[in-house]
């Protein structure tokens, strides 16, 4: 009797499985049958749009493009929290991990509000003499669901604004690696507000918001200059002005949790697909090409750093692989939408090599860039912008330009001007901001607080109790 019931049950289960299987098969067959239809229809639609585009720009929201850029926006959020938070958090000593994670989160929140209130308008609002945006879009006035012709003609303007918000947020968070384990929390808050408005916003405008560098033809696909040169060079100034950590060079300051750093590296890499491929502002071939370049450079950077360190120091290290991947990602960022996979591999090779030696030689320069923002983002950003002037190809992105290796030497000159302008502006601006913050609230925690650690002294908490 029991056996019969079991058999009956089995039969029912099999019956259900068959129904499910048939349903799936039907859906697949149906999809296959339907698929050619829309493709043809789309082709026709695209052709007609192109014809109309000659007369006047057509702004029509595309759901695929919108979905991809919204998703990319969330991916870039994951780069800051928990990606960068864990990447940096693992690299500091155990008494400072909460303070370090806190920096990433609070910078994100602070910049988000600033961006919505005034930042976006100043960076991307109607151009004022090539230098800054106007205040016309303050409080997102006029930034709605209608697409903007220059900022993604197929996605709502708000989506572009949000995508850019995430870039604005991660950039000052990157700088915090240079001043890890010693910056006062109040100083960090004030610095973030001033730096975002005084440095990030104008540079974003110059390059992406219709400013003078963009008009000159400077190419920065996803932020080699806007994000990595600004943060890397500002980090250098911060490290010099704040001074070394107490015990630097004598105390044991090894990373306290490298698995956290690896977890952060994975999330940064994952999020970087949104950062770079999302910068295509559409779900299209350009996004795929940027995705490919991003991945190729990251993998190459990781292997090259590992190999160089192996030869130079005798052992391949886990932190080396992680650092090389981030170096590859940072370096390929400005070029990702203008280059093919082989150019990306070559850029990755140089990223791993140059950033490794920049980081190793830091010791001889005498400043304490605690988590190597200068060596990785600064050096990677500068090289990436110049490499864009070498490897960019109109065959990959017709909206870009050819670089030196594709017969256009002038592009390299434009890229060099961008490097100099952004670097100089970041260095001078950051130095002034630090002087203001120092005068207002003081930059460093007291020596006693520093030795206690940021977790207890700044936040009254302990990560591991």
């Amino acid at each position: 009797m029991v056996v019969d019931q079991e058999r009956e049950g089995n039969r029912k289960r099999q019956g259900r499985l068959t129904v499910v299987g048939l349903t799936i098969a039907a859906v697949v067959v149906g999809a296959l049958a339907v698929f050619p239809g829309p493709v043809v229809a789309q082709d026709i639609a695209v052709t007609s749009v192109e014809v109309v585009a000659l007369a006047a720009p057509v702004l029509k929201i595309d759901t695929g493009d919108t979905a991809w850029v919204l998703m990319s926006t969330a991916l870039v959020l994951a780069m800051t929290i928990p990606g960068l938070a864990l990447f940096y958090g693992g690299l500091v000593r155990s008494k400072n991990i909460l303070g370090t994670i806190m920096q990433s989160i609070v910078v994100l929140c602070l910049v988000s509000l600033l961006w919505i209130l005034v930042g976006y308008s100043l960076a991307f609002g109607p151009d004022q003499g090539g230098l800054i945006g106007s205040l016309e879009w303050v409080g997102l006035n006029g930034v709605g669901s209608e697409p903007h012709p220059a900022y993604g003609p197929t996605i709502p303007h708000q989506v572009f604004m949000l995508f850019q918000l995430m870039f604005a947020a991660i950039t000052p968070a990157l700088i915090m690696g240079a001043v890890a384990e010693r910056m006062k929390f109040t100083a960090l808050l004030l610095f973030t507000v001033l730096w975002s408005l005084v440095i990030y916003v104008p540079v974003a405008h110059w390059i992406w918001g219709g400013g003078w560098l963009g008009k000159m033809g400077a190419l920065d696909f996803a932020g080699g200059a806007v994000v990595h040169i600004t943060s890397g060079l500002s980090a250098l100034v911060c490290a010099i002005v704040l001074g070394k950590r107490k015990g630097h060079g004598s105390d044991y300051m090894a990373p306290h949790n490298l698995p956290f750093t690896l977890l952060g590296t994975g999330l940064l890499w994952f999020g970087w697909f949104g950062f770079n491929a999302g910068s295509a502002l559409g779900a299209n071939g350009l996004a795929a090409s940027a995705f490919l370049a991003t991945h190729a450079a990251a993998a190459t950077g990781a292997l090259v750093w590992m190999g160089v360190e192996w030869l130079h120091r005798g052992k391949p290290t886990v932190l080396g692989v992680a650092s090389g991947a981030v170096a590859g990602l940072a370096t390929v960022t400005p070029a990702s939408g203008y280059i093919g996979p082989f150019s990306a591999i070559i850029i990755g090779v140089f990223a791993g090599f140059l950033c490794y030696f920049a980081v190793v030689w830091k010791g001889r320069m005498g400043y304490d860039d605690s988590l190597d923002v200068v060596g990785i983002h600064g050096v990677g950003g500068v090289f990436g912008i110049l490499a864009t002037g070498l490897f960019a190809s109109k065959a990959i992105n017709a909206a870009g330009a050819d670089g030196l290796f594709f017969g256009n030497a002038g592009q390299l000159g434009i890229q060099a001007i961008m490097v100099c302008a952004v670097a100089l502006f970041s260095v001078l601006g950051t130095w002034m901001i630090l002087k203001v913050v120092d005068a207002a609230v003081g930059l460093r925690v007291s020596p006693e607080d520093e030795s206690t650690g940021l977790d207890l002294s700044q936040h009254n908490e302990r990560a591991y109790s």
């Binding site: 044991y252 090894a254 120091r313 052992k315 932190l319 010791g363």
Partner: protein
């Protein structure tokens, strides 16, 4: 009475403990310690930044024994803790002037 202090490699602790129990030692005190002898420390490298770790983790075993037990205890620890490579540790012996079993108030060798 003697107090025998043995500094050994941490992974050898179980073997040493079992060997001592087997030969009749009734108790011991174990502490995790750090230090270095001729082995010195090791090197760690993080992004090219090199740290020399001078103090190596070790385990210290303290055993209070009678004068008669001492040679066999030393021999047992030496045998069980030995790997033959540098860093196996050291044994130090001190005079023990008094011993008291708190529960009963017994003193001297009967308290061991």
């Amino acid at each position: 009475m003697k107090m025998i202090e043995a500094i050994i490699k941490p992974f050898k602790l179980d073997e040493v403990k079992d060997a001592l129990l087997e030969m009749g030692v009734q108790g011991m005190t174990v502490t995790e310690v750090k230090g270095f002898g001729r082995q010195k420390g090791h090197k760690e490298t993080y992004r090219g930044q090199e740290y020399t770790i001078e103090f190596v983790p070790k385990v210290k075993i303290e055993v209070a024994v009678t004068d008669a037990q001492m040679p066999r205890v030393i021999e047992t620890i030496t045998r069980a803790a030995k790997t033959g490579s540098i860093g196996d540790g050291k044994i130090f012996v001190r005079e023990l002037v008094a011993a008291v079993r708190i529960r009963t108030g017994e003193t001297g060798e009967t308290a061991l």
